[in-house]
Symmetry: C2
Subunit: 499 residues, 2 copies
């Protein structure tokens, strides 16, 4: 160790000792301090950090706390860890141009609108299609309390023509919340409210998906294709882009996520870095950094679909890729996973240069998002009810995932649950050639779900994987056991043990 | 009179006597019975109706009741009245293919989203720009009651992925309400919920204004241009259409409304039949009939922008043009005028052949309209609170219009208030060449409003009219007197008495 902790403490932040003795989580405090130090340049790119043991001793914290903090920051792309060369400050983390320095991420919640697979006709007793949270768990009374409070406190101007940026109350609440929960670096005036992820895509790529435009003449697109997408993803998004005339180019996936090294002349890339949809892995830290490098070098932009970022069960959620470079990443989120798709609200966290164009695309007035719902959501977040709900759902879904894993281990041990413990769905890997028969067996057991093939980009050349996408969040709590039983019954039956 | 009342009573409906002796409005009952008789074919096209006096005596009702009923049905286009040939059943009223026979229109309420003129920068103490209802009058407690009730009664599936058609509760409430209040002939399954008028235009004409499409390939437009529009109208709508690649062709206006006789090879026409926006006249009954004839003959479609149809102060609102031919007219409405543009809800009442395409354009799930707001609005309508609110606002706006007329008569007698007593705005006709100076004088008095020139289609060849569009509904009640005073001050000053 070449430097003493004093040097680090100074670089990391001179109040660190004081903060670490305070009431907050030591881990979160340390992560926040390290992140700030890297961001501000106090810890220069390439700098080697002290070993866990040394820093832990110096700061008077547990060794695991330091190890956790390093791991988090490696996962977020601030640090790199390589065998033999220790942990270093990554090359590409650079300061935010505007002075926004969110503090450490706290255990927290939300996420985003996502269209689902086609609804099948006829009743299916067991609905395990991915895409929606447990509809029976909507926090009705908390939402109503927030709605009532918001409505009673709203100034009259709320009922006039709205601002296309969205209500300032909501944008302020989101800026704070996203910083805390997702490590997002932004300001309220760089957040634009929309109806959800699909609306955001339309605003960015569409000729007519916004609210008309001020100038009156035919409006150009803000972003143009070709757009790189993950080789497995939501068909709905690809179709929407195709309808807007945007060509999508598939990036193969491997165990570290999307092969961003394959990016070439695309102008933008759409990723699900926290939890690849649907295959379930996080984007590796090296690739997080690499894709931002690519965007900088090419003048391109990264779209971060942060659809279920708060739902991580094995560890704290990995922070948003957006924090690596707020001028190169557009983060898009919504309440469709955290609350319900029935509340048609989402948000775009934008690089400064896109804000005006997005507002112009959205139109002169708020033409889409219910203003009252915006106020209610702002209250829900500020009052802490949103965090409370997300924590509750995180526990519930974690329990469901654990039950799924346990049941499969017992009943269908040939089926592997892949991906990290996160989100509202899991992928069950199947032996090659057995996906179709497994879906069929499930349907015969009254289970609605999709095979991985549904999500595969038609033009990808990566090898196909056989698997089932299980939306374990979808059924109401009382129905989950039955759905799981039926699923296991289907998988334990013939036809899924290899063709 | 060639036929006795017995024949008419039979044709009109054998229960008519009974109904007329019932508790309901005799006028409404008679209108409903006559309308049904025409619709069903019991009174054939061309049939001459008995003189007021005879029918009144026969039915035992006041002569004025019959005169009123005839006038209403003439205004709606069911009957025609010509000097010398009496009142006859119009040629073009034909039965609805599906068996929907709404009863007589009752005194009732709503309407529709409309973008407003560009917001000026800087504070304007007196806001008389057209486009929004009094924001201070939003029925907060009634809305909250409905919202609470709707939320507590909602089945869990409400919080799942929504139906792009909209909630069935709301579509059922609207079908009944629009029949009663606007004479609309439809069924819930021909109503599609949207975010407002602009969204409806995008769904109909847009390549990307919907929610993506099921098939995945690039989607065609449902309607195509060229689209005839009124020579004066909202620039926002024209711009939106232009952005979608739709050419708009202006129809001149005269004292009977849009010159629909000028329609030729357009494929669709967009009209504001109840109250031309902004000039303020209703479309003449002959033209109502003529435009439907044109649409039938050409295989074209009429878009009825029913933006303020319930707000008529001198008489009952003229029924919707849609009732003349539900298979040729798309009626579009919203709550932006009746409640607030902050509630982003509107509806399209569609000919049957468009329903599937509009739903496909909207997407596989509800991607736009807040489902909870939909349920709240349904409750507001069904509970009668919506009618109550519209009645209250009708009184308020009528009072404001009366005050405007009286104040101008006294303070600026050279200014003529044109158009019918209706809606949320009035047009003040000015001597030729004085509009610009009048707008300037208003601005100097701190009054924000627009001149007629703002609304003129750039390609029309009709003579320009000088005038001010006064949104008398816009200010809160307490501020209206001051705004009116400032406006009169501006108009009484020099520069508006002819150039």
């Amino acid at each position: 160790m070449a430097e003493s902790w004093v040097n680090y403490a100074e670089r990391i932040g001179s109040d660190l000792h004081l903060e670490l003795s305070g009431p907050g989580s030591k881990r979160a405090t340390l992560i926040g301090a390290l992140r700030d130090a890297v961001r501000s340049g106090r810890l220069a790119p390439g700098t080697r950090l002290p070993p866990y043991r040394s820093l832990a001793a110096d700061l008077g914290v547990a060794r695991n706390t330091v190890a956790d903090a390093y791991a988090e920051l490696v996962a977020e792309g601030w640090l790199t860890a390589r065998q033999g060369s220790g942990t270093r400050v990554a090359e590409r983390a650079r300061p935010l141009s505007t002075a926004v320095h969110p503090k450490a991420p706290a255990p927290a919640p939300t996420r985003h609108p996502r269209a689902r697979t086609p609804r099948r006709s006829g009743p299916t007793p067991h609905d395990l299609r991915q895409g929606t949270p447990d509809a029976s768990a909507f926090p009705r009374s908390a939402w109503l309390s927030s709605y009532r409070r918001a409505l009673s406190q709203a100034p009259n101007e709320v009922f006039g023509p709205g601002d296309p940026a969205g209500r300032p109350e909501l944008r302020a609440a989101l800026a704070t919340y996203l910083s805390r929960a997702r490590g997002v670096r932004t300001e309220p005036n760089r957040i634009v409210i929309c109806s959800g992820f699909a609306h955001a895509l339309r605003l960015l790529f569409g000729g007519g998906g916004g609210g008309g435009n001020k100038g009156g003449s035919s409006r150009g697109q803000i972003l143009r294709g070709p757009l790189a997408v993950e080789a497995y993803g939501l068909p709905f998004h690809r179709e929407l882009l195709t309808a807007e005339g945007v060509r999508t180019v598939p990036l193969p996936l491997d165990e570290h996520g999307a092969r961003v090294d394959r990016l070439t002349r695309e102008r933008a890339v759409l990723l699900t870095p926290a939890h690849q949809f649907p295959t379930g892995g996080p984007l590796h830290a090296e690739r997080r950094a690499a894709v931002v490098d690519w965007a900088r070098a090419r003048g391109a932009v990264v779209l971060e679909d942060d659809y279920d970022g708060e739902f991580r069960y094995d560890r704290k959620p990995v922070g948003a890729l957006q924090s690596l470079d707020p001028e190169r990443v557009i983060l898009i989120g919504s309440v469709s996973k955290s609350l319900s798709p029935a509340v048609r609200l989402g948000w775009m966290v934008l690089p400064e240069r896109y804000v005006d164009d997005v507002l112009a695309a959205k139109g002169e007035r708020e033409a889409w998002a219910s203003v009252l719902d915006q106020l209610a959501l702002a209250d829900l977040i500020v009052s802490g009810s949103y965090d409370h709900h997300v924590r509750r759902m995180r526990q519930r879904y974690r329990g469901r995932r654990d039950r799924l894993v346990a049941a499969l281990a017992e009943r269908a041990p040939h089926v592997e649950v892949s991906g990290v413990a996160a989100g509202l769905h899991a992928v069950l890997r199947l032996p090659p050639g057995t996906e179709r028969s497994a879906v069929g067996a499930a349907v015969r057991q009254g289970v609605a779900l999709d095979g991985l093939a549904e999500f595969r980009h038609p033009e990808t050349d990566m090898p196909a994987h056989d698997g089932l996408v299980v939306g374990y969040a979808t059924p109401p709590e009382h129905a989950y056991g039955g759905a799981l039983e039926a699923l296991c019954g289907a998988l334990a039956s013939s036809g899924t043990r290899g063709s």
